[in-house]
Symmetry: C2
Subunit: 462 residues, 2 copies
């Protein structure tokens, strides 16, 4: 099964994290970044507007819901993503607004309603990055003794998405005549109960909110494990991942697209947008020097040691003998980020590493492929994109000066080459991403009934 | 126990409902109101800004989460309150932002986090109107066979508030040194777990967000039953109610304040803000004529019959014999708005009413006390306020022209009389309402420890 890829442009997301992100926990040491950026709405508005001026497709907000006094800065203090994005919705006019929310600790009715509200407030620009929560400690904040195990989390996520998408179709698009002459506000035949009765959720519906100009919020997915990929292939419009090389990107894209095709979807309707650290300098050497200086500022053995604990349920490694072999802790990852934990343990076993060596390897500078002069960065992005390593990039906006350089120097080159839009063509996130408008399932059914009737009458005519 | 009332001004809230509200379901027939006002963020922004120009204390968003195809317009299609208020937060700068959220179908960690985010985004202007959900059908949207019964709902509400307030204090106000010299972001001694283990919730904490400039969101409460009043007296800073007469208002205020005093609170720190329908005309007669014309436009036997079903679990009365005695349906209110239902049944029994008569009485024009020329309305508000019938009014913004007249004609009179502010004195909702800043419980404890130590050393000195 082959699919003609239509001529495309590169999609761009801006990951707004405030005071730094994973692997970049000391970014707040830079005097250019307000120490409270992660809870400062003005910081988010400023960079969302800058991304919009650069005609980005979307901003992207990550999330987590479990901290300890030893959590790195990025996790400690942050705005809840949908509240944050709603403020951005009325501070921007075109850019998409993608927020992370967990299916493990939300009710579908509540969450679907909040995304539908964001979608209406933004006039069709909302996206939901579906996660299942890898921090096992989150359970303790939600009256549960234990976090859901891995397969349960993904079954629950799938059902959660199904219920949400069902609720989002509660009203057909022409459900409200609002006819002042006849005094008819609603056509009750176009309001539908869901009556979902599943393994995790029983939801009668209907949802008390109409659809937005893009029909339904766009679905993103961010888990890289096998079940995560299945979930992405089945439901996601966009995938957030990490792509260390062109070959990795090609393999990942092929894998996701084959999973999408296997469930009958058009694989071109799944866009892959890995996260990217981009550094622009006057020359390639200058850029590598900036990258090195940034790494030096943000490098910390202690924080890397603390972050290493995350895939193992935020396990505290600080009491271990640093020079003993990497400890036998894989069982701690059971309900956490198991795929990540397995990769860490496998690498340690393979090279017979101590805990110190594991931390030092993680803390070392891992050069980004997207570092160089503006032209070099543009060339590299173009090369990877044209090789099919990704459909676009989710750019980490951790360093304001660097983001401004990317927008001012690299984006114009890509625009000149026809690889990035110079103006928004549409108004909705779905339009930006080139995704089809999802017809309401109940309206679709009516059309299908018609088609079936036509087919029947055709066969009668023979 | 008597309490000196400090000289006060009248507090004003604006209830923004979009297309009308309870008892005013056909308001959307007015061509001045967009038919989709209840999901149009621009409508909300316009009236929030108008209320802010008039130096109102707050806007107030009501809510519900259960509809059927026969629900009146007001319930059918609405934005989720916190998403809505976050958009208003960055569209205004001073006015308070109070949103309704149910304790029956939210997790405290999620909800506390969302209100804390709104509080930070608005720089200290968030308020939570605590409700327990009277629509029994809501259970079906949240995977429950049955709605919580009345006493359970209120026990759960109390615990939900306690947990939320505990989570909101997770960080002491000086928890983040964010010292670039020493690279210290957090003082871990100032981050506190809650470790709540109660009847309904087990929440370890801490919450992953700092406190706002007002310390914690303001608590409102809107249930008028006995348990609702207890909850309000114990926890609420503001009470949303209905006050048909000065005497009723005085009795209600005395009741709430005695409940507050009984649990050791300063009764002056509970403000009573009934909802008010205000109609301003050129003369008193003109205003009564506007009120009559408004009622005529919005009056509907069918919709009143449908709304009558709400306290009885949205019972469908349409199949009943309208001219038979009011049916025996009180048992249907078991898990719904029982107090309201009891009042309806008692009135019907007392006067031996048929179902038609009950509906006709409800549908009839109930003149508002706040109808007249601007001077008359100002006089009446002043009289009720000075008699202690309320601390302020929550004004229904159902008719835009009327709200504009109130703001343009009545507010200046009250300002001239010193009964309403001409400028905001503070920046937070708590400051607007004259409520004290809530010290962080852990910082308070430290102070208490100090005081105890001082007391001990004093007694040693004796």
């Amino acid at each position: 099964m082959t699919h003609e890829r239509t001529p495309r442009q590169i999609k761009f997301g801006a990951i707004l994290t405030g005071t730094g992100g994973p692997g970049d926990q000391l970014r707040w040491l830079d005097p250019e970044i307000p120490g409270d950026a992660s809870v400062d709405i003005d910081w988010y508005i400023e960079y969302a507007r800058l991304a919009e001026e650069a005609k980005f497709d979307l901003v992207f907000i990550v999330d987590s819901q479990f901290i300890t006094p030893h959590s790195p800065p990025h996790y400690l203090n942050r705005l809840e993503p949908l509240t944050l994005l709603s403020a951005l919705a009325v501070s921007t006019s075109r850019i998409g607004l993608v927020g992370t929310a967990t299916t493990s600790y939300n009710s579908p009715y509540n969450l679907a309603r909040r995304f539908a509200s964001l979608d209406l407030i933004s006039r069709g620009r909302a996206g939901w990055n579906v996660v299942t929560s890898g921090d096992a400690g989150t359970a303790g904040n939600y009256s549960r003794d234990e976090h859901f195990d891995y397969p349960t989390r993904y079954r629950r996520a799938a059902e959660h998405i199904e219920v949400s998408q069902g609720l989002w179709d509660s009203y057909e698009d022409d459900a409200f005549p609002r006819d002042r002459e006849t005094k008819v506000f609603l056509d009750p035949a176009k309001l539908h109960e869901l009556n979902h009765d599943g393994e995790f959720f029983q939801v009668v519906g209907p949802l008390n909110i109409q659809r937005s100009p893009q029909g339904q919020p766009v679905i993103f997915q961010a888990g890289d494990s096998n079940d995560g990929r299945d979930l992405g292939g089945r439901y996601a419009d966009g995938i957030f991942t990490f792509t260390p090389s062109i070959a990795d990107g090609q393999a990942f894209a092929a894998d996701i697209r084959s999973r999408a095709a296997a469930v009958g979807r058009n694989p071109d309707h799944v866009l892959i947008l890995p996260g990217a650290r981009i550094v622009v300098g006057d020359t390639d050497d200058d850029a590598r020097e900036i990258e090195r200086a940034q790494h030096e500022l943000s490098n910390s053995f202690e924080i890397t040691l603390a972050e290493l604990g995350r895939p193992f349920g935020w396990h505290d490694f600080s009491g271990y003998d640093l020079d003993a072999p990497f400890p036998d802790v894989l069982h701690l990852a059971e309900h956490s980020f198991r795929t990540q934990a397995e990769a860490i343990v496998a690498a340690a076993r393979k090279d017979d590493l101590t805990l110190r060596q594991v931390v030092e390897r993680r803390a070392a500078l891992h050069p980004s492929p997207f570092v160089g002069s503006a032209k070099t960065v543009a060339d590299t992005i173009q090369e990877w994109f044209e090789a099919g390593a990704f459909d676009g990039l989710n750019v980490f906006v951790s360093h304001p000066a660097q983001f401004r350089r990317f927008v001012a120097e690299v984006i114009p080159i890509l625009q000149e080459r026809g690889l990035h839009r110079s103006e928004y063509e549409g108004t909705t996130l779905r339009e930006h991403l080139g995704l089809p408008f999802p017809a309401n399932r109940y309206t679709v059914s009516a059309t299908r009934v018609e088609q079936t009737a036509n087919a029947a009458s055709l066969s009668t005519a023979h």
